[in-house]
């Protein structure tokens, strides 16, 4: 419980810093981040000194038990109740904010109509670096993913379908404590591996084909992300060459990763390695992304990213080369940025 109180305090500190009276929190992810209660349909109002929760009747008892440190109000019209509370407390409405990046169009227009102002990035800032319980959860999600791969790999044989491998891998992760996959598991055999977002299918594995597995799991709401590509059978020269290039790119990116370096520099290091070997045009996506409550979150690791990496950020490095009609290779780990380097969480 302490962890939520701490996060609320940090958010209240940001309110003061930004000269705001209050902020409404209206996305399940952020409500959960601040209270531990991850069910849809609740709105929080956080002022510099207080926190209210506007909760559908159906969830009210449940919420009160889960988050007793929030002043809970049962309401039918959740957003309307938040506005009423703002008025009742005589917050300067021009100093009460909503976060544009977390709102639907309909909800954002509602807040705006009632005079609330846009202020981006408050909770995003708090979520950007991981510590304590959240780091523990990410670590565990990563650990489960790594171990599960070691179990499934020897069971991948000619005749199995992509989907049977995906389902078994997910099942293994669940038996190890995961609540589910962190995104739709990608298992791609042969030419399917050349599609970065291949939809796992009933395609059967044949002898002498590439196998790409991109997967992760959720543990206590936090996620892991990892990709391995290997050859089933005897790899030909082209696969070996491409795999070695991607592995070198991946290795160099990780080696450079530390607090203080720009995310765009990591992208450049990984991309140069592949460009220098003549495969630049086949590396058709960014180098990585943050991982946490969402599978893709800040900081993005690509050429346009403005982030300077900081201790406690958790992100992926995942260079790839995709040869349409032939095969693709991607190697990805989830990493924790540290002061003088990084730790591979999905080792």
């Amino acid at each position: 419980m302490t962890i939520y109180k701490e996060r609320i305090k940090e958010l209240q500190h940001l309110l003061k810093k930004n000269k705001l009276d209050a902020v409404v929190i209206n996305r399940t992810l952020e409500v959960g981040f601040l209270t531990g209660f991850y069910l849809d349909g609740c709105v929080l109002l956080v002022s510099k000194t207080n926190i209210w929760g506007f909760i559908p009747q159906m969830l009210f008892e449940h919420f009160k038990t889960s988050a007793p440190f929030v002043e809970a109000v049962a309401a039918n019209d959740i957003k309307g109740a938040a506005i009423a509370e703002i008025k009742k407390n005589k917050f300067k409405i021009k100093k009460t904010a909503f976060q544009p990046e977390t709102e639907t169009y309909v909800d954002g227009m509602f807040w705006k109509k009632h005079g609330l102002i846009e202020k981006a990035g408050l909770t995003a800032f708090l979520r950007l670096t991981k510590k304590g319980a959240e780091l523990k959860a990410v670590r565990k999600a990563c650990h489960i993913a790594s171990k599960a791969f070691d179990i499934i790999k020897p069971k991948i044989k000619a005749g199995r379908t992509e989907i049977s491998v995906a389902r078994e891998l997910e099942h293994i992760m669940q038996l190890m404590g995961a609540t589910g996959p962190s995104f739709d598991t990608i298992v791609a055999f042969g030419p399917n591996s050349a599609l970065p977002h291949h939809e796992t299918s009933t395609r059967v594995l044949k002898k002498n084909e590439a196998v790409l597995i991109d997967y992760g799991c959720v543990y206590d709401f936090y996620r892991s992300d990892r990709t391995r590509t290997f050859f089933y059978g005897k790899a030909d020269a082209e696969f070996k060459k491409v795999h070695a290039i991607v592995a070198a790119s991946h290795r160099k990116g990780i080696k450079a990763l530390k607090s203080g370096i720009k995310a765009s520099t990591i992208d450049k290091i990984c991309r140069n390695e592949i460009m220098d070997k003549g495969y630049g045009q086949y590396f058709i996506h960014g180098t990585g992304h943050g991982v946490g409550l969402e599978i893709h979150e800040e900081p993005r690791v690509n050429a346009k990213s403005k982030y300077v990496l900081k201790e406690g950020m958790v992100l992926t490095v995942e260079p790839g080369i995709y040869l349409n009609g032939k095969f693709g290779v991607r190697i990805e780990d989830t990493l924790l940025v540290k002061k003088n380097g990084c730790e591979i969480l999905t080792k």
Copy 2:
């Protein structure tokens, strides 16, 4: 493929009917509904005579193969490319729409800034009644859910945790062809069953406790939803009484369900049955909701619902009584509305 061309044609018919030149489609769900391509980050532009897809480079080859009937354009700035195409085709910008209910705040504001107008409910209308392939998928998702319950039920014994039952049930559904659970499976033992959205936990089942399971699966992107509540051990008089009341409410709602009846009338019939027995205050949610590509979609079945039910709608009837600290009972089926009645898909 024919099914997608038909849907696009129906959408184009709606454009004409609403005197619109074109509409942008920007949510993965609707892009998938119109093209069969369900990966994030693509935008469609549908005019009265054409359909364009603006696709991130990473997904471009993949998209072209999946949806060859769409004029695909690879782009870095997806939404910007859509705007450019609108201008190039000299569509009257005031007659090009976006659907407010499908947009994030940031995206909606982008369309608005470029002069597009709000027009709600175009794709929602097409998704409201199910036919052909989508009905087949819903049927299968429902069938898997029902069968899987029959397999898990005899395996639920004292000493098992809620989460172990949930994971095994999900695994059974996956072995039967489901791609995953249609939402976080709820398994609630004893007093936990009194929380309508209980988070499945490591709570262990004891002799003589209520067991509530609310679950479903995804098959070919369509979902099922079903709840069963039973007593493990020898039910006491109160559980028997409450279960009988909920069962009667559920039965009467289903009996009344047919094309032409108001959704609010179904809610009233179910609610009256529970109110008449003195438990009205413990039925703390709406009677049901539509099910399809989303687990909760239109038509809502509650007192405020404006919908008149039509043949082909798929929805749930799920009355419940929740006695805090003791137990809860909910009984839910996914149903297909027919001309003179309905079909229980999760029988």
